[in-house]
């Protein structure tokens, strides 16, 4: 309906392979970005930012990471929590060890550290097909949270075992620490996430992404046309871990400010992120955002309606949430394995063809 594509012809492969080849899409995306950057910070209140937007962004980053592994390369990880914890710890150690270091650099390094840790668990499990990675990452989940909990060095010997982000500035604006304003932290997160989302998009639409998808769709054929399954999967896994690590760092330093890793990044986080990509859409960057939003918002809505609205016990609401998520996962996998992103796409197609049905 809104699309007017006649006359949008492409005279170069560059234009033809752009992320948003259709003009109307570019407008729309531009609008959204404008909103996120120029409007939201001024209209959204503290709660909005702290409880919904910042977490959504942070988790979207994690979801992108897991999506790269699961959605694009067809491997499953249950250790997302553990790797986020790794990112958080790395970030903490670096922040405290090098007070002068730029926060972005610290995030990058945290990501790299996490990728390295990921390799340790990926190498033994990715050589063979099947669910071994799932188990290996489960191992990572339990082992790592144990490690950060038991070895005091990681938390700088803090008796409580919690790590707290010291205040840091970016371009003179305070973005971490208790006194950083929600707006500042939101903007910073937004910048980081947009940046990495763009990078992820570039990865998956290029040769690297094709290699991953080839392995996902039919590893035998992929190997026979010259892809190395092990290396390809390993690459996907380390990139994935990198993203998850950065997400962990952001969660810790910018969103929560101070965490007890074993608590904040337990196995349920792993499942949460997994649900984000299943509901949001396997193999879709957009889906990672939609999924994150969905998984963050649903519990809030449930609590508001059930607990505040119907005066139900919080714990029961939690259980209902379990059932809802579990059910949704099954329903989505059956009805629309490509999740919200796919629904979005279908809607878009309909608009493009309007008024014709096909």
């Amino acid at each position: 309906m809104f699309y007017r594509e006649a006359g949008q012809f492409k005279t170069s492969y560059g234009a033809d392979q752009a992320i948003f080849p259709i003009v109307q899409d570019r407008w729309f995306v531009g609008l959204v970005i404008l909103l996120a950057y120029a409007v939201v910070p001024f209209v959204a209140d503290e709660y909005m930012l702290q409880a919904i937007l910042i977490p959504t962004l942070a988790f979207a980053l994690a979801a992108i990471g897991l999506n790269i592994l699961t959605g694009y390369c067809g491997q499953l990880s249950l250790g997302t929590g553990g790797f986020m914890a790794t990112g958080a710890i790395a970030c903490y150690k670096l922040m405290t060890a090098f007070p002068e270091m730029n926060l972005l650099v610290i995030f990058l390094l945290s990501g790299l550290v996490t990728a390295g840790v990921g390799l340790l668990f990926g190498i033994p499990s990715l050589r063979i097909k099947g669910f071994y990675l799932a188990v290996a990452t489960l191992a990572a989940q339990f082992f790592l949270s144990w490690l950060y909990n038991k070895v005091a060095w990681f938390v700088n010997y803090a008796p409580s075992g919690t790590i707290t982000a010291p205040p840091r500035e970016i371009f003179g604006v305070l973005v971490t620490g208790p006194s950083a304003s929600a707006e500042a932290r939101y903007m910073f997160t937004l910048v980081v996430v947009t940046l990495f989302a763009l990078i992820a998009k570039n990865l998956v639409r290029g040769p690297v992404g094709r290699a991953w998808m080839a392995i996902r769709d039919m590893d035998i054929a992929a190997e026979i046309i010259g892809f190395r399954p092990f290396q390809t999967k390993l690459l996907a896994f380390s990139v994935s871990s990198f993203y998850v690590g950065v997400a962990g760092a952001v969660t810790f330093a910018v969103w929560l400010g101070s965490v007890e890793t074993a608590e904040a990044f337990d196995i349920n986080v792993s499942f949460q992120v997994l649900f984000m990509i299943i509901i949001g859409g396997l193999g879709s960057i957009l889906g990672s955002f939609l999924g994150a939003g969905f998984i963050i918002l649903t519990p809030i809505l449930l609590t508001n309606t059930l607990v505040i609205g119907l005066g139900m016990q919080a714990v029961t609401a939690k259980h209902i949430e379990f059932v809802v998520f579990g059910g949704l996962i099954i329903i989505f996998l059956i009805a629309e394995p490509l999740g919200l992103a796919r629904l979005w796409q279908i809607g878009k197609e309909k608009l493009r063809l309007w008024p014709f049905p096909y």
């Binding site: 990078i199 094709r210 039919m218 046309i225």
Partner: protein, 273 residues
């Protein structure tokens, strides 16, 4: 088919041997898939491998491109002996193939599927992680270069109309064509086709024949193909090797093979016990 007529006109490629299969034996547990099979494939020829079901044809291809590893015997490719080799190494040496039941990447478009075929031709570093992440300069230009090449294949196979369609939605015949395209994208020296015309109607078969001949003709690609349709085999192949129950029972020009006693038996299903 005019093309075929022309083709039959030309003399059988007398070129030097490209690939030599020497006394290959292969077995899965108790099952003897291949027993002491030997034959050669000459540069620039179209070599057919035929035989009744379960004759071990596909296993033969799997051995050639390193997917299975023979128990005995060896493969000599371009004069170099090799026993153990992973499929992707075979690919790197210019052997590509298609599969009996289409093995495309269903999630991707026709274009992307064929692009994957270019991966070995891509500049390793330019297509590498970091530049790819930024998708600027090198990767971009590299990507465009490959796209241009792939478009030539799309044009060659006359599949412009389905360029951006996810292959999952394509009819079987077209999928086979796309798969051929993916194999061609690697600019192979040796192209292995596993029943390229299985389950096609007459027109589709004729098209496929034309494409196979054109490939062999325009790019000088050596082709080894498994095919059930005798008519097709006799039409397009220079030499035929016949397998039955894992044993080679005949080898020669189509006409020689056609009149071979064992072959006739094998096809009429005379029992071998």
């Amino acid at each position: 088919m005019a093309a075929v007529a022309q083709h039959k006109g030309r003399e059988v490629a007398a070129g030097e041997v490209l690939l030599n299969v020497e006394n290959i034996s292969l077995s899965f547990g108790a099952v003897q898939a291949l027993i002491d099979v030997s034959f050669d494939i000459r540069k620039g020829e179209i070599r057919a491998i035929i035989g009744p079901n379960g004759a071990g044809k596909t296993s033969m291809l799997n051995v050639v491109n390193g997917f299975y590893h023979p128990r005995h015997g060896q493969i000599v490719y371009k004069g170099r002996v090799r026993q153990q080799m992973r499929p992707h190494e075979a690919a790197a040496q210019g052997i590509s193939r298609t599969f009996q039941n289409v093995a495309l990447f269903r999630g991707m478009t026709t274009l992307d599927n064929i692009m994957t075929g270019r991966n070995l031709k891509m500049n390793r570093w330019k297509a590498n992680l970091l530049p790819a992440a930024l998708y600027v300069g090198w990767t971009r230009s590299e990507e465009m270069k490959q796209r241009a090449f792939v478009e030539r294949i799309i044009d060659f196979l006359e599949i412009e109309a389905i360029r951006k369609t996810p292959v999952g939605r394509l009819p079987y015949g077209l999928q086979k064509r796309v798969e051929l395209g993916r194999a061609l994208a690697a600019e192979p020296e040796l192209l292995l086709l596993d029943e390229p015309m299985a389950g096609m109607n007459i027109e589709e078969k004729q098209d496929m024949c034309r494409f196979i001949l054109d490939v062999n003709d325009e790019f000088g690609t050596t082709i080894a193909l498994i095919e059930h349709d005798m008519g097709v085999v006799m039409d397009i192949s220079d030499r035929v090797v016949v397998l039955d129950h894992g044993v080679k029972i005949a080898d020669g020009t189509p006409d020689q093979v056609k009149n071979n006693r064992d072959v006739i038996d094998a096809y009429l299903g005379v029992s071998h016990d």
